[in-house]
């Protein structure tokens, strides 16, 4: 989030409440709809937002009051959407999450949120502290003529 684009980001503080989360996610989805993103893109971005916010509240904010907000910032353009999600927890090391697709981990209860985010997003990178996620979703139905 650098340069002049930083001013255009929509910024939202979200508490751990189903309605608040849904309202924030709906805001991002509405921004994509204004750019006429296809249904598959809306599905992917909505899913990744829920997964990222769920991880932030369930793991990042474990032990913190439910009123502790997670910060969401996003900017939708015709060909991509950039999303930042930052929690106030101590952070984690994404490399420490076991691969849930391995046969021995297939029945594990967790780890799939991160997998889905990595599958759908063109960019999914955590800050060095591990409490902030930067995601970029690229619209798949637009091709560049070079």
């Amino acid at each position: 989030m650098t340069g002049h684009d930083a001013d255009n980001f929509v910024r939202v503080q979200i508490i751990n409440d189903a309605a608040a989360i849904e309202q924030a996610v709906s805001g991002v989805v509405a921004a994509l709809e204004r750019h006429h993103y296809p249904k598959a893109s809306l599905f992917a971005v909505k899913l990744c937002l829920h997964e990222a916010l769920s991880n932030a509240f369930r793991h990042g904010h474990r032990g913190l009051p439910p009123s502790t907000p997670v910060a969401l910032a996003y900017l939708a353009s015709p060909d991509h959407v950039e999303i930042f999600i930052e929690d106030r927890g101590p952070g984690f090391d994404p490399a420490s999450v076991p691969d849930p697709t391995l046969d021995e981990n297939l029945e594990r209860g967790s780890g799939r949120g991160l997998l889905l985010i990595n599958a759908y997003m063109a960019v999914a990178e955590y800050s060095p502290a591990g409490n902030a996620l930067h995601m970029v979703y690229r619209r798949p139905d637009l091709t560049t003529n070079t």
């Binding site: 369930r58 209860g109 949120g113 889905l116």
Partner: protein, 119 residues
Amino acid sequence: MPGQESRLKVRKVDGIVQVEFVDRNILDEGNIQSIGDEIASLIEAEPTPRIILSFTNVEHLSSAALGTLITINNKVRAKAGQLRLSNIDPQIYEVFAITKLNKLFQIVPTVPDAVRSLA
């Protein structure tokens, strides 16, 4: 669960429990917990459960819901029962494929397909 609206439509035909989700979005952890509890009760009520979960109304489903489905599958297997998933939207099927849970669950196109496979 008295006082709580069911999140499932349930009917039993020829000993097979057919479950349809009411919600279009299975994303909220509170709802997922309720759904898991309701289906666990259905499993407990059957000596050898044969259960079909139809996703015909479902448009979105999170990894937390997948975790609950794994728990349900384990409960059914613990009673030597059988579980089928049906009517899964292609976008949701992709979530099963990405997570490789399409290898763990028996997924069939429709409820009649599921019934035939349990007969």
